[in-house]
Symmetry: C2
Subunit: 458 residues, 2 copies
Amino acid sequence: MTEERNIERIKAIRQLLDEGRRAEAAELIVPLLPPDQAEIFEELSVEEQTRLLKFIEVGEAANIIEFLDDDDAASLAEHLDIKVLIRVLNEMEPDEAADLLGDIDPKLRQQSLDRMTDSEEVQSLLQYPDDSAGGLMTSDYYVFHQETRVGKAFDAIRQQPLQDEEIPYIYAIDDQERLTGIARLADLIRAHPEQPLQTVADPQFVSIEATADQEVAAQLLSKYDLLALPVLDENERLLGVITVDDAIEALEEEATEDFYKSAGILSPRDQQTAKSDLMVRGPIWKSWMVRLPFLLLTMIGGLLAGGVIGIYEEALETIVILAFFIPVVMNMGGNSGTQSVGIFIRGYVLGHIDPKSFAKHILREVAVGLGLGIILGFVAGLMAGLWQGDFQIGLVVGLSLLCTVTLATALGFLVPLIINKLNIDPAVASEPVITTINDFTGMLIYFFFASLFIAGLS
Amino acid sequence: MTEERNIERIKAIRQLLDEGRRAEAAELIVPLLPPDQAEIFEELSVEEQTRLLKFIEVGEAANIIEFLDDDDAASLAEHLDIKVLIRVLNEMEPDEAADLLGDIDPKLRQQSLDRMTDSEEVQSLLQYPDDSAGGLMTSDYYVFHQETRVGKAFDAIRQQPLQDEEIPYIYAIDDQERLTGIARLADLIRAHPEQPLQTVADPQFVSIEATADQEVAAQLLSKYDLLALPVLDENERLLGVITVDDAIEALEEEATEDFYKSAGILSPRDQQTAKSDLMVRGPIWKSWMVRLPFLLLTMIGGLLAGGVIGIYEEALETIVILAFFIPVVMNMGGNSGTQSVGIFIRGYVLGHIDPKSFAKHILREVAVGLGLGIILGFVAGLMAGLWQGDFQIGLVVGLSLLCTVTLATALGFLVPLIINKLNIDPAVASEPVITTINDFTGMLIYFFFASLFIAGLS
């Protein structure tokens, strides 16, 4: 977006760094907002980053690192002098610090934790996996006992600014640290200073367990239009809060992942190699690695389809024009199947598909496929017949398309539903399985109809 | 998600409505949160909805309608008694009211605007298209002159609760109504009551013009981790504010749209027919309508590929085993092209692809394609050679795959880049164009190598 301006700035920074004018280089970065600073940092080498960082105030440095990609942040952290690293970690939001520590060398992680000022907080966040609700939460929010007077809460807010002051909710807990209500800052402003917090806090709230998937957390924040979501343990004690910005990031990550998976680009969740910028700008061998598995798998389908044709070698020798329509049969089966898988995956992610209503979803999809198959089969059959001046071949092509499209459309739902029941992520495995089945069955159907309707074949 | 519990509740509500016990039916809805209430409403018929709504307090009704799908909200509004509708509209957030009014019958819209209490506010929001930043913004936020004392601002906040109190920012403007700074509620709490607002407000902020695309607004909110984004006119005057919840919705909409488009499912933006729930639960003919165009277009590719085979009819008659490898050549070209388009579209949406660096992107993709082509060509060529015991055919298959995969991968970037330059949405048009080109060129390449390397062929 701001690419062009950035490129100029990066060039200038590089030149200043080369000339040893580091302070001046830093001055080109300091006036920007942290996300823009991070964007520039990502274009620099780790050496350039560390040289620059020495001339940037530590709080600012913490902000920049928070906005870096996980991988970039980790490699920068590992290159920093440990004293600098610890000062930066102390300034970072606890959840971001925990994320960073989770990504770096375990030895360095332990050393850092030993020397950080508030390490218990970060340590407790570190125990949750990155992609769980617990892994997304921060410990940086205002929480008071429910009997606290509003005025007292205000005093505390005045005296203890948070690192990240963006959470506009105040959390009320009882003697057992259980969350009992949530108040908005605005509600507090409107309340009388002598009122206890529980008279202001709303006892009806949405929450999530720490072990839940981050996707569920993001969906809750989105569905209920929340700015932050409290995370509870099994005893309803308040453990942390997930802010909406982290939820957006999680949603974008998941959307990118689903998008890629549906195009046959594999990315093991913990490696995150298939991030959009990596696929467009990263090392080329990484692109190969994430794209090859799917292609190799589907190659089997193509070869199997060839095997089917091989069985009908004699028929093909007799009537060689049969080969002309191999592409259209394969093509239509593949494309209609891909559409169905796409609809399934998106509906599944958004919660519109209920794996329990198996039969209902499949029946609907068969009806959709039948309609598409009739229309496509008619058009292709007509064109084949006109082209060859032979309506026997037209009939064969038409019927083949009807069956192939209907089958492929239904399989587009059936296969992911089954894969889902096997507890495999349907977004990863569906496409190769379906492509293979479609290629294979498409040729079977086609040559079956050919041997049935064309005189002189078997 | 909460499907099962909901189904029970809906059954109970239906039964109570049938028995004329509307108040009791309403009681089953009232204790829920608005998004859950809306979920239940969406399962009911419009008649049931209107009957139920009479027993729900008007503020609550407004909340429910805000969370309904646009289509459902519009049809309910058109069925309501106009007096009820106007009372509901008065209670709705201005941006939601404007969205609803934009979706209903123009006559009813005018009647409603004539009788609403704060219609100017809504009227001014109505002038922006639904998918622009202006169409997403609300007029429900706190704005003060920059010289206002903090204490005075507090008094105003106390006396004028907003319909939606979730915006935790206070906006400071100058004499010309230009936005000069943004303060957080928490900053105000920490300030002295006599301080003027401009000493608290941050003069460095991100904003957007009203005419910009909603996607850009959502990206800014996401990139800068904002809870709300100010919308300005060309003179930097503050027109409204976009809240993060609307941005999330916009992002999900766009992601769904892109996802579908990449699977060849067309949805004209203004019709929004391809929404996930519609594709999974809606009328079957709608599914046909959005899926057919892509399938019919790509059918041309399949038939053209057949035409190419037709040209080589004699070669095929001589060596019929050539037909065995038509599927694998088509298959690999199609799949590697699809991967590239997927990567392009996602990178483009997330802003990682700069259409100006045309050559750089294409060159990188050619390198990726070449690597994939070499590996896939080698594997397929080897298998073909072993299967047929004939390494001439292996060579033909291998070289064909190398060229087809490289070409398809590069086209996966080239075609969307060109389509983008023509100001057509690349997500819609890329797949059919590429599929058609790939099918056609795949066969050309294959039979070209066959006639080159296999003795006895022309």
